[in-house]
């Protein structure tokens, strides 16, 4: 009881998380992956290669000192492409999750706190979303012509638009789980006595939501958000693979497998690398979620 130092609930959880071996292991793997993708530019400089310059004479070159993993179908350095593609894939994963979480959190808190008709409508909507076949819908969204939505042709075909389009459409289909979770947590939190005493002291809904509900929703949500990152990375990869996500020349782990049918016969290793990296990333993220779940388990919390 009497300790010299205050131990916040977060510190307690960190202690429990550290005891979870696979969780810690996957955290290490993820840090290594971040390091890997972050070293794209230094490595490109060191190898003196331009990852965007096509060189059809050195197509599918085997590994060498100049190209440690060989070259791809356009003669570009595979290793540096993998690093750059990883930057895009991870960034899409994090950003789309962030956008989706903000949507889900906002809708969930409002729905849970104010309840009634708004709540009923929002929950019907999320129920509907959950039951839909998402991938075909994502493909349609990925195929939309942005100029028909009033964007300039120049913007519609820029790399930035391609990137943000993926972030937004993936976020648009993957916020429902977070919304439901947030709503359920909000429903129980708003009846807690600390929320009621804040209301009795004159706390407005905006204050109560930000000061009491959001910080307490964060706990059950962190696990869900982590798992969302994994799912989003998979969504991005399959969309880019099918040609409706990140498009060349920008590499992503998904679109590096675009011409998989050709790769399988001519350069099988190139068909393995990007998918293996996606696999490792997502499995690490999921194990991280498992470790967090353990650390945040309400049953082990006092």
């Amino acid at each position: 009881m009497r300790r010299d130092r205050a131990v916040s609930p977060w510190q307690l959880r960190w202690r429990r998380f550290r005891a979870h071996r696979t969780g810690m292991g996957s955290l290490a793997v993820l840090l290594l992956l971040v390091l890997f993708v972050a070293s794209a530019h230094p490595v490109a400089w060191w190898l003196a290669v331009d990852p965007y310059e096509t060189d059809l004479l050195s197509q599918y070159a085997p590994p060498s000192a100049a190209h440690p993993l060989g070259t791809d179908d356009a003669g570009r350095d595979e290793l540096v492409r993998l690093m750059l593609g990883g930057q895009i894939s991870l960034l899409v994963g994090v950003l789309a999750t962030a956008v989706g979480s903000v949507i889900g959190l906002t809708i969930g808190v409002i729905s849970g706190y104010f309840g009634r008709r708004l709540d009923a409508v929002l929950m019907r909507f999320t129920d509907g979303m959950i039951a839909l076949p998402l991938l075909p819908l994502l493909i349609v969204l990925g195929a939309l012509d942005l100029t028909k939505l009033g964007f300039s042709a120049e913007f519609a075909h820029s790399a930035a638009a391609g990137f943000w389009r993926v972030v937004i459409i993936v976020a648009l289909v993957d916020w429902t789980g977070i919304a439901r979770l947030t709503r359920a947590a909000t429903l129980s939190l708003k009846e807690r006595d600390y929320v009621r005493s804040a209301r009795a002291s004159g706390g407005r809904p905006a204050y109560i939501m930000t000061a009491h509900i959001l910080p307490n929703v964060a706990t059950p949500l962190i696990v869900a958000v982590t798992l969302t990152v994994g799912r989003v990375i998979l969504f991005e990869s399959v969309l880019s693979f099918l040609g409706f996500g990140i498009v060349a020349p920008t590499p992503s782990w998904g679109n590096m497998l675009n011409n998989a049918q050709e790769l399988v016969t001519t350069a099988p290793a190139l068909a393995i690398y990007p998918g293996l990296l996606i696999f490792i990333t997502v499995i690490a993220v999921n194990f991280l979620g498992d470790g967090l779940q353990h650390a945040f388990d309400p049953r082990s919390e006092r």
């Binding site: 509907g128 959950i130 039951a131 839909l132 076949p133 998402l134 991938l135 075909p136 819908l137 493909i139 349609v140 969204l141 195929a143 939309l144 012509d145 028909k148 939505l149 994994g230 998979l234 990869s237 399959v238 693979f241 099918l242 040609g243 998904g254 497998l257 998989a260 399988v264 016969t265 099988p268 068909a271 393995i272 990007p274 998918g275 293996l276 996606i278 696999f279 997502v282 499995i283 993220v285 999921n286 194990f287 498992d290």
Partner: protein, 316 residues
């Protein structure tokens, strides 16, 4: 019971209606439109001709009106013509639907059966060796990109070992059942592996949860054999949450089917929709998406009914 079923059917119909409008509007926002496609073969078309064509096809009308016309025709069973196949949409779509159902059902059964076996096994001794291995396998199943899994399977079994065909549904000139089954092995394996992970985790969690409940302990105390306790008492209770989750995964199963069919060149709904979107075949894409939604909704409906049947507390 009847009232419940009717209410749920009405709800599903409403979702389908809303989705049809959403998809209709989205399809209209895809690159090109039917007129562009038409005049592509006729570079001499003047703007007046284009405008005239638009008027004939009603493309100058507001979207709600066009949607109304489309809906009225669709309700009569007329979904228009497929541009790329030059056939009525339904003629193209129905065989594909059948093919997809074959793939989805087979892999669904395979994954559910295996997932139950693995999930129950893992739950017998949580934290044990079997549990750890099964959990690792389940995590891998959730985390693997399906298209890449297909790629690896093709690489191993078709390209390297030459033991299984890499694509298609039958060898040309060989209509035999064995041949057809051989073509199904890799697609079904891919799709089943993609679902088995999450199913196994749910079943394991539900089993561990039920084994802790009082009536299981009572059954044990009364001297029921362990096998009986697990298979009769625990499994029945664990089924309730599991059935819901598994049935809600129908949408995900369809997404998996799309990837699998594309990878293995299976002429199913998924590949059809994908090709239709790529080839600006609006009618086919629209109808395909709607049927995909319909299949998913039917799956969810069945889940609700199964739930009511399994859970004795719900007296319908």
């Amino acid at each position: 019971m009847t009232r419940f079923i009717l209410a749920r059917c009405g709800q599903s119909a409403l979702v389908l209606l809303v989705m049809s409008f959403v998809i209709y509007s989205l399809i209209g926002l895809m690159p090109g439109d039917p007129i562009d496609v038409m005049i592509a073969s006729n570079p001499g078309a003047t703007p007046e001709v284009v405008a005239h064509l638009r008027a004939i096809y009603g493309l100058d009308q507001p979207i709600l009106l066009r949607y109304g016309h489309w809906l009225a025709a669709a309700l009569r069973g007329d979904f228009g013509y497929s541009r790329t196949h030059a056939q009525p949409v339904l003629t193209v779509l129905l065989p594909a639907l059948l093919q997809t159902c074959k793939l989805m059902l087979t892999s669904f059964v395979v994954s559910v059966v295996l997932a139950f076996a693995l999930g129950v096994w893992a739950s017998l001794k949580p934290g044990g060796v079997a549990d750890s291995i099964i959990s690792l396998f389940a995590f891998a199943g959730i985390s693997v990109p399906v298209f890449w899994l297909a790629l690896v399977l093709i690489l191993v079994f078709a390209v390297t070992w030459h033991v299984l065909p890499a694509s298609g549904i039958g060898t040309f000139g060989d209509g035999g059942v064995t041949d057809q089954l051989r073509h199904l092995i890799l697609p079904v394996t891919t799709l089943a592996l993609a679902n088995i992970g999450s199913f196994t985790r749910f079943i394991r969690a539900a089993m561990i949860e039920t084994m802790r409940m009082d009536h299981i302990r009572t059954a044990r105390a009364k001297g029921a054999g362990e096998r009986r306790v697990v298979l009769v008492h625990a499994l029945r209770n664990a089924m309730i949450p599991v059935v819901t989750v598994i049935a809600l995964s129908f949408g995900g199963l369809f997404s998996g089917a799309l990837i699998t069919e594309t990878m293995f060149a299976q002429p199913g709904m998924g590949k059809m929709i994908y090709d239709a979107i790529l080839g600006n075949d609006f009618n086919l894409a629209l109808t395909g998406l709607l049927f995909a939604t319909l299949v998913t909704l039917l799956g969810n409906l069945l889940a609700d009914l199964a739930y009511g049947w399994l859970d004795p507390r719900i007296k319908l």
